[in-house]
Each structure stands twice: as structure tokens, then as C-alpha cells.
């Protein structure tokens, strides 16, 4: 079972306590943007086999949204971090680099 540490309340929460919120760090495009950008924002997904960044909510706990860095191929969790950021913290990126040298995800690496 997938277990994520909630960065807010500190609980080591298992999957039944969490609700998945899909791909993280999606840039929103609104009125005035190009069709391609708008389509990409609504539907285009990385869906990587490997390192992935996601949004999760500690639904049956403190209720807060947070981010998780995970491997979709091994289900290994690299770490969780606060929701109020456009980019994973350096510390988490370093952790991933140690385990998956040369990884990249969108503009992050």
C-alpha cells in the first residue's frame, strides 16, 4: 500500500487516508491563451514511466493539499512537500538525482 508523509500534520498516511489529485505543477492557461496552450493545460499529461510529481490531499486527516515525488515504475516515494510552490524543493530533486541519475520531468531535472 502506498504511504505518504503529510508535510503539514506529519502523519504517515496510507492510501486509504489520501485522495489523489493528479499531475502537479500544471501551468494554467485562461482566456487569451493559444488553443494549443489551453488544450495542453486541460488534457496534455506527462504520464511518465518513472519519476513523477503529483498532488495529493490528506482527505481523511488534516484535509490539506500537498505534493509528492514518486516513481510510477517502482512505487518508490522520494518525498512530499508543501502545496504552495511552483517547483519541487532542491532537497527532493537531489534525493531523486541520487537514485535516478539523469532524470528529467518537464523543465525539472
Amino acid at each position: 500500500m502506498l504511504i505518504l508523509d503529510c508535510p503539514y500534520c506529519g502523519t504517515s498516511a496510507d492510501e486509504t487516508e489520501l485522495s489523489p489529485g493528479g499531475e502537479a505543477h500544471i501551468k494554467r492557461y485562461g482566456p487569451g491563451s493559444s488553443d494549443t496552450d489551453f488544450e495542453g493545460y486541460l488534457f496534455g499529461r506527462e504520464n511518465p514511466k518513472g519519476v513523477h510529481f503529483e498532488r495529493w490531499r490528506h482527505a481523511n486527516g488534516c484535509g490539506k493539499w500537498f505534493h509528492a515525488a514518486r516513481c510510477t515504475m517502482t512505487l518508490e516515494v522520494f518525498g512530499t512537500y508543501a502545496a504552495q510552490t511552483f517547483e519541487p524543493p532542491q532537497e527532493i530533486k537531489d534525493k531523486i538525482s541520487a537514485k535516478r541519475p539523469g532524470w528529467s520531468w518537464r523543465d525539472f531535472s
Partner: protein, 432 residues
């Protein structure tokens, strides 16, 4: 080693020319000589340098595409490339429900085409796929489900797909082991498709593989595609673990790995890969001769010819490539089904497994050309694409041969940019 390979090659060439048909006579003949004369159902050649068409993925959809390229369009210089063993993806992991009671017209067209092809598949392929049109019932357990299914029944009447909305009493008559009265969700009726049913999943893949091989196509297993070669926006071939292979056209038919292949070809897809799981019980005497889907409680059930109760449930909510689902989903599914089928509570579950399904936003598939010239994609069948294998192959082959097909035109990638969705969340909101 080289010598051994050469021998295999020779044998394989021989069988192209003398592929024997299966028949009652053949069974009797082989019985008389201790079954020593059965030959391999398909050749296992090494790849040639180039092909007219390469299909990536030897699941049902990839193999059916190759089959209809040959049968309907005379294109037989084709290779189907598979990283594992053929039929080892979702095709060999699914619960084999076949039905065509969808809401939207483009869906009804391709799913009913597929269902009708299943009716004669064993004869067409000379391979027993054990199609069993035992009837499929989708239970209505809430008021909104009643409304949804009444609407679907009417849509189906207009589409020429035979379905009807039946009463709880009729449900009980068709399936005596069902508990109608709840406790949480009483059975209020059902959408019934009499000619829906099941088929043997492996046999569908094997039957197509044998027929493709017989037409001279190469099915290359244990060969992973690792890159897509292109020049001037046109596909020129693929890189594989057995070397580079050139092609004029490329069909990507890899279900859960569609995003990985799209990445190699240089475009993004509106698809997410997640795990869907199923489980089977110990075999018991025949107790249920229909297929039942209970979408509100997320579970579906049929009895296999061996007597096992075949159970499928919900998908995980997060991206996953591991081919195993979360335990609590299996638990929820079983809990829900025990409510509707109390006799299940005494059964031991024997096996559980998962497959990686490719989900689109509108729960409809993508059969489309792509931003890369000559490269076509067939994916997004998600939790429900076993039933569509022949129809999908038929349409995809026409699309690849002619550039367009009445079966697939509505399922183009451009529908997401244009907001022209084919919303099947009622028909396919739950796994099936």
C-alpha cells in the same frame, strides 16, 4: 546458435506454406497419433530490415489491426513487435466482458461492429475463441442510474443495438443468486443486452496471431521498441532491442505504454496510465450464466467455463506502471459484491492481478493520425477495450491504409483541442 536460429527460420517458412486448419477431422487424426502432429500456431522469425507497416504492441488491438490490414486491404508486409509475449498485456489480464450498449453514436458504431464480429470470429479465424453471448446486465441501483440506463436503452434503440431496460423480477429470473433488496443499494432494474457476453481472451490474441502469421506477417516477441526514427516529420522506422527496423507506416497500439511511445515519437497524449485489477475465486459448480455489472458499488462478475467467479473492480486513482493494484480496491470490490451476491462470502479467492489501463478524459478511445507523419495511434481503451478488439482493428486498419475510416474519424486526437468529446462516463465510468 546461428545454426539453431537458421533451423527455426526454416521451420517457420515451411509452416507459412502448410498452415493446417483446425477441424474435427484434425482432432481425430491427432488423437490417433498421440497428438504428435500439431504444429506451432505462428512463426517466431527474426525481424527483416524493413516493412511496409510496423505495429508496436501484440495485444488484441495491435494483432487485429495487422489482421485487417492484410485481410481487408491486402497489406501483408507487416511486423507486429511485442516487448513481452503476445497477449501478455491487458488483453490477457481482462475480465472479457463484451457488450455494445454505449450512449454516443460513434461508440455504438465501433463497439457494435466489434460485437458483431465476435459472433463469427471463431469461424473467421478458424480458432475457437469461445465467444459466449450469455447476456450482459448492468444493474441500476440508484435513481440516477435508472435514468441513465433508460436514456441509454433509448439511444441504443435508435442506433440499432438491441438492449432493454428490465425489471427487478426479470433480473432475479435471469440471475437467481442475486439479492435484490439491498441493504445499501437495492436492485431497481437493469440494462440488459441479450447478445453481450464473454470470450476467451488469450484465444482472441492467439487466433489473430495465427491468422497474421499465416498471411506472412512477422510477429516478433521479446523485442522492445526503444525509439522512433523520423526524418522531415515522417516516421522512418523504429529502434528495438533486436536492432533498427525501417517502415513506411507505424501503428502504436500499446495501451498503458502509449505515453512512453508518444514520448519517443515526440508528442504528448491526453492519457494517464493507471492500474486496474481483477480476481478469481476457486472453481464452483455453475451458478450464474449471465454477466453482471454493478457500477454503483464498483464491481462486476461472471462465471468462467472452469467455474471460477471472475471479479473485476475499480481503478486506482494514481499513475502506475507496476501491473498491480492497491489492496483496498480489491477489498472494496469484494465487500460490495458480497452485498449483492451473498453466496460469494463463502468463496476463497485464488488469484489477483493488475493491468495498466490507458485512461482518456472523456473515457473514449483515440484512433488517430498523430503529429508525426505516417505514425498512427490506437489507445485510450482504458478499462473496456477487450470488447472492441475486432471493431478497433477493422477501423484502425482502414485508417492506416486509407487515411480515414467511418469507424474511427470521430475518435481523432483533435477532438480534445476542438472540445468535441465523446462522453462515455455513464457507460464506462466504472471498469468493465
Amino acid at each position: 546458435m546461428a545454426q539453431k536460429d537458421a533451423k527455426v527460420q526454416d521451420l517457420s517458412q515451411e509452416s507459412v506454406m502448410f498452415m493446417k486448419r483446425y477441424s474435427a477431422f484434425a482432432v481425430a487424426r491427432e488423437a490417433a497419433r498421440y497428438h504428435s502432429g500439431w504444429e506451432r500456431a505462428w512463426r517466431s522469425p527474426m525481424p527483416k530490415k524493413s516493412y511496409d507497416v510496423i505495429i508496436v504492441g501484440a495485444g488484441g488491438h495491435g494483432l487485429a489491426t495487422a489482421y485487417y490490414l492484410g485481410k481487408n486491404h491486402g497489406i501483408t508486409n507487416v511486423a507486429v513487435i511485442e516487448k513481452g509475449w503476445l497477449g501478455g498485456g491487458n488483453t490477457g489480464r481482462n475480465t472479457t466482458i463484451i457488450r455494445s450498449n454505449y450512449l454516443q453514436d460513434p461508440s455504438a458504431a465501433i463497439f457494435e461492429k466489434a460485437r458483431s464480429l465476435y459472433e463469427t470470429m471463431s469461424q473467421d479465424l478458424n480458432y475457437n475463441v469461445m465467444f459466449s453471448p450469455r447476456g450482459v446486465m448492468m444493474l441500476a441501483q440508484t435513481q440516477s442510474e435508472i435514468r441513465g440506463y433508460l436514456r441509454t436503452a433509448q439511444a441504443n434503440a435508435l442506433q440499432g443495438v438491441k438492449t432493454e431496460f428490465i425489471t427487478p423480477a426479470r433480473v432475479k429470473e435471469l440471475c437467481p443468486i442475486i439479492e435484490l433488496s439491498g441493504p445499501r443499494y437495492p436492485v431497481l432494474g437493469a440494462l440488459w443486452q441479450e447478445r453481450g457476453g464473454t470470450a476467451r481472451h488469450d484465444a482472441v490474441a492467439w487466433g489473430y496471431a495465427r491468422a497474421c502469421s499465416d498471411m506472412g506477417m512477422d510477429i516478433i516477441q521479446q523485442c522492445e521498441v526503444t525509439g522512433v526514427d523520423q526524418a522531415d516529420g515522417q516516421v522512418t522506422g523504429v529502434k528495438t532491442t533486436k536492432g533498427d527496423i525501417a517502415c513506411k507506416k507505424l501503428g502504436v497500439v500499446v495501451a498503458g505504454h502509449s505515453g512512453v511511445l508518444a514520448d519517443m515519437a515526440g508528442f504528448r497524449l491526453p492519457v494517464e496510465s493507471i492500474a486496474l485489477q481483477a480476481l478469481v475465486s476457486e472453481p464452483i459448480k455453475p451458478c450464474m450464466d449471465v454477466v453482471i455489472m454493478a457500477n454503483t458499488v464498483h464491481g462486476y462478475l461472471s462465471q468462467s467455463d472452469k467455474g471460477e467467479m471472475v471479479i473485476g473492480g475499480g481503478t486506482d486513482g494514481f499513475n502506475n506502471y507496476t501491473q498491480r493494484g492497491s489492496f483496498h480496491h480489491a477489498e472494496e470490490t469484494v465487500r460490495a459484491l458480497v452485498e449483492t451476491f451473498p453466496m460469494l462470502s463463502r468463496l476463497k479467492m485464488l488469484r489477483q492481478w493488475g493491468g495498466i489501463v490507458d485512461m482518456t478524459g472523456d473515457r473514449s478511445p483515440i484512433l488517430s493520425s498523430t503529429p508525426l507523419g505516417g505514425c498512427f495511434i490506437n489507445c485510450g481503451w482504458g478499462t473496456g477495450g477487450f470488447k472492441s478488439i475486432p471493431g478497433s482493428g477493422w477501423g484502425m486498419a482502414e485508417l492506416m491504409a486509407k487515411g480515414s475510416s467511418p469507424l474511427t474519424d470521430a475518435f481523432g486526437l483533435n477532438r480534445f483541442a476542438e472540445g468535441r468529446f465523446i462522453d462515455e462516463s455513464v457507460a464506462a465510468g466504472v471498469a468493465h
